[in-house]
């Protein structure tokens, strides 16, 4: 049964929420979510690449020979990633410094190739666009929330681009930042507990 564009878009927000439902793209999910800002930045960069590559692959789906489709997908994805990397260097340099190697690593993020292979090369341009945007925004929200939880517990405060900020320690002066949460093992435990919660909620 064909889905409407709205359904293609919203499925990425819950039913196929990338890190939690599809359990894809875990490397940046674990690596960059030391703060909400990093998580959102990574998510937005991925969304851009996903959106662009989904559209282009869907447009070219009748041209690309099936034997070399993976190579073609990689060329398209890698080009978008490089564009994002250059743009981030030019306009959001501090964020680029923080995300570092994770930006070029978007190329090998399974979500991108997964969406290209499973969706964009089989569907028309408009639904691929909706799919890419939905999955990308879902990914951004997931990374942002994981980053927010880790930053809040680990630093005691959340700051996003210097404006939106919340300080847990001013609300609870006796709170001691639980630094374990912003360290690598904290990422695994936090992700695991969130997966647990999301599975408990179910569909």
């Amino acid at each position: 049964m064909p889905k409407t564009l709205v359904q293609e878009f919203t499925k990425g927000l819950w039913q196929e929420l990338p890190p939690f439902r599809l359990v894809l793209g875990l490397c940046p999910t674990l690596g960059v979510t030391t703060s909400m800002e990093n998580g959102l930045g990574m998510g937005i960069a991925t969304t851009f690449v996903l959106f662009g590559s989904n559209i282009l692959i869907s447009m070219l789906r009748s041209v690309i020979p099936s034997k070399v489709r993976i190579a073609c997908f990689i060329i398209i994805i890698a080009s978008f990633v490089t564009i994002v990397e250059l743009l981030m260097q030019a306009y959001t340099y501090p964020l680029y410094l923080k995300l570092g190697v994770f930006i070029p690593l978007i190329v090998v993020n399974c979500i991108l190739l997964g969406r290209a292979e499973a969706f964009a090369c089989k569907n028309n341009v408009s639904s691929s666009m909706a799919d890419g945007l939905g999955i990308g925004i879902g990914y951004t929200l997931a990374l942002g929330s994981l980053g927010a939880i880790r930053e809040l517990l680990g630093h005691g405060s959340v700051t996003v681009w210097g404006h939106l900020s919340y300080n847990l320690m001013s609300a609870f002066p006796s709170y001691h930042p639980f630094t374990f949460m912003v360290q690598a093992p904290g990422a695994f435990i936090c992700l695991g507990l969130m997966l647990c919660l999301i599975n408990a909620i179910g569909d």
Binding site: P65, I76, I83
Partner: protein, 197 residues
């Protein structure tokens, strides 16, 4: 056969198009990227050295050819006189090159300050060269004519405890900067006059 040709054509065209787009984006963002790098990587170091300058050193920079390399010289203006410059030199540290921004007062030929820009030293050990201002502040006021070195090598700089290699690298970078400065001085004086106006 037909499919083979198609594969080759599609891949070639795709790669060429991607290359073209990337080249265009690269060209379009290059100057902006350089600007950002100066602001965020070297900016903090320049600001600490040339604190109190009445003009923005990054905007008032000029390039000088020294050997094969081109050096960016940042100019600070104090008391109405553009007499202080800062530029970057590198020394071989424990984990790779250490960038050191060196500020020199052209009237007195003395160092006004130094600061580490980039490094990949061990956190808590060599990284203290950047994080702990008491080490780099030792260079302040030294005349450019005399070479600097750590006390272990018979010099005047107290090394960071547990990070002699890093300390030596910083000294070497400062040394190199002082020599380069003396070589470039005539040229510098010419260029700086333009900024002073």
């Amino acid at each position: 056969m037909n499919e083979m040709v198609k594969m080759v054509v599609v891949l070639t065209v795709l790669s060429a198009a991607a290359g073209g787009v990337l080249a265009a984006v690269n060209k379009g963002t290059a100057s902006q990227i350089k600007d950002q790098q100066l602001r965020f990587v070297k900016g903090p170091a320049i600001e600490t050295i040339l604190a109190g300058s009445s003009i923005n050193p990054i905007e008032n920079r000029f390039e000088i050819k020294e050997g094969d390399a081109e050096k960016s010289i940042f100019v600070g203006k104090f008391d109405g006189k553009a007499n202080t410059i800062a530029f970057e030199e590198f020394g071989k540290g424990f984990g790779g090159d250490i960038g050191v921004m060196v500020g020199v007062n052209m009237d007195t030929d003395k160092l006004v300050g130094t600061a580490v820009t980039v490094h990949s030293e061990t956190p808590g050990m060599g990284a203290r060269a950047k994080d702990d201002p008491s080490f780099v502040s030792q260079f302040k006021g030294l005349p450019v004519a005399n070479p600097v070195s750590v006390t272990k090598d018979g010099g005047q700089i107290t090394a960071i405890s547990g990070a002699t290699i890093t300390s030596r690298a910083v000294c070497a970078a400062v040394d190199k900067a002082m020599q380069a400065y003396q070589k470039m001085k005539p040229e510098l004086q010419q260029e700086i006059k333009k900024v002073g106006k």
